[in-house]
């Protein structure tokens, strides 16, 4: 009994100290977040024809290949609707689909292919008919300077070449397989990366020689990689569907996001990143 007394006395001031620190850290983070948010929404507020004020938060799960485009679209959307906070969750479409089916609190799903969207809709998570908002084509990504002189899909079959791709469950893995089949080329991959950005990273870092990715990814990779075009008749057109999910809490904001994406402004941003309008 007498032993117990001092213990809480010794612990409490310590606890209070860490609590104060935690509060301070939280406040600091909040202040930083607020100032950052202020930056992004202060870009261009002009040109908005919207009359209703939308507010709340929106979570968009989007295919990894949409990374750069959706980052831009997010800031354009937020300057039109400064009261809305958008979070873009990127990954392989197949991974995102599993997250949604397992109950991730997501409002909108933008997939890099239609089969993956079908997976989500057959599980009963799609609220309204998906809309195709963009198309993309495939290209071969090779190392800077193209040291192996890869000029076509057939060149990927040369021995010793390190070709990386994604599993066929991931849209790009499936598209790449289709393209190789169409060209009657048999290539043995060295690795199945988690998503298309994984392929890009392996090539830009010089660990892999080549991979088949979306044409838009090579634009995003900059000067660390080179693009070998696949002729139109050999190419596969990737169609990107988007849909509001049954888990969407703020349907007005979700509807506005999709409308923005297919509006001339949204489409022009997508084209700026190399996507085509459907």
């Amino acid at each position: 009994m007498t032993l117990r007394q001092p213990t809480p006395l010794r612990i409490r001031p310590q606890g209070r100290f860490t609590l104060t620190r935690a509060v301070l850290v939280t406040l600091l983070v909040a202040v930083l977040a607020a100032s950052l948010g202020g930056c992004s929404s202060g870009n261009s507020r002009a040109g908005s024809t919207d009359t209703t004020t939308l507010s709340g938060s929106l979570t968009v799960s989007a295919a990894a290949s949409l990374q750069a485009a959706f980052t831009e679209i997010k800031s354009a959307f937020q300057s039109t609707h400064p009261e809305v906070k958008v979070t873009v969750n990127l990954g392989a479409s197949s991974t995102l689909a599993q997250q949604i089916i397992n109950g991730a609190p997501v409002d909108i799903f933008a997939s890099a292919d239609e089969p993956t969207m079908t997976t989500v809709s057959s599980a009963g998570f799609v609220a309204a008919e998906p809309v195709i908002f963009a198309t993309n084509s495939l290209a071969i990504i090779v190392r800077k300077g193209n040291p192996l002189e890869i000029l076509s899909l057939a060149d990927l079959a040369q021995s010793g070449l390190i070709y990386v791709t994604c599993a066929p469950t991931v849209p790009i893995g499936n598209y790449a397989e289709q393209a190789l089949q169409k060209a009657r080329v048999s290539v043995s991959p060295k690795s199945f990366e988690p998503d298309v950005k994984g392929i890009v990273t392996k090539v830009t870092s010089g660990e892999a020689d080549a991979g088949i990715v979306y044409a838009t990814d090579i634009t995003a990779a900059g000067e660390n990689a080179e693009n070998v075009a696949i002729p139109l008749d050999r190419n596969i057109i990737a169609r990107y569907p988007i849909a509001m999910l049954t888990t969407a809490k703020n349907t007005a904001v979700a509807t506005a996001w999709i409308a923005f994406l297919i509006s001339p402004q949204g489409q022009s941003i997508l084209r700026g990143f190399g996507f085509d309008s459907p």
Binding site: A92, S94, T95, A97, Q98, I162, V164, A167, P168, T169, V170, P189, K190, S191, F192, E193, P194, K202, S205, G206, E207, A208
Partner: protein
Amino acid sequence: MRKAHQTQKRAVGLNRPPAVIITIATIAVVFFALPFIGLLLRVPWSNAWSLLTTDSSLIALRLSLETSLSATALAIVFGIPLAWVLARYGFPGRRMVRALCLLSLVLPPVVGGVALFTAYGRRGLLGDPLFDWFGIRLPFSTAGVVLAQTFIAMPFLVLTVEAALRGVDRRPENAARTLGASQWFAFRKVTLPAIRPALIAGAVLAWARALGEFGATITFAGNFPGSTQTMPLSVYLALESNPGQALVLSMLMIGISFVVLLSLRDRWLGGSENGENSL
């Protein structure tokens, strides 16, 4: 000294903790147990065996066993001398060296994988000459998996063995030396047997960590069935294509880890053994 400390601890341990503490501890236990119970309920037991014995599962299982055992062997070969040096010799910068060697213990494994690239990748500091001179390429190879696993798992062995070397009674070793044994002989015949339990514990922990390695492996060595796709990678991939198989493989990994931890109970807990006995 140590004995007195233990008896004192045991006397305190006889008092039952307050109800609040027991309640909070129970919540913590439930927190840990629930995910495993959830997994157990979801596993498709009816065809679990057939899922476990599919080619893809067996290939991943075999690769995992081969690579993790190789990584453990490397960890023992390099880890014991490293622990010996860290425990016995006070050289300038020892704390820095220890922190450096244990860094991968706390680092996110993906970061470890990226760091491995810069050293052992095709254009890495060592990877570049390795390829030019010997044609050895570590990324996308089974050797790369072993390297990544060793990088992540060895600190477990070093930490355990170093602690044991510090705690061991040095008098028998010194006696052996005065009787004419060489330093190496005394270490091998006197000290090493004395720290055997810690050595085994460290090796098993390192092995378990290597078996479960995911981040550094997928980042550095890639992911391909038969050459680099170990069990954890296989589970991750199967989650999208064949969830049933992913669950069965997960169960197997949990089973292995659980058995390992149970067998280590006394050895790993070391100084606090008495605390557990009094429960």
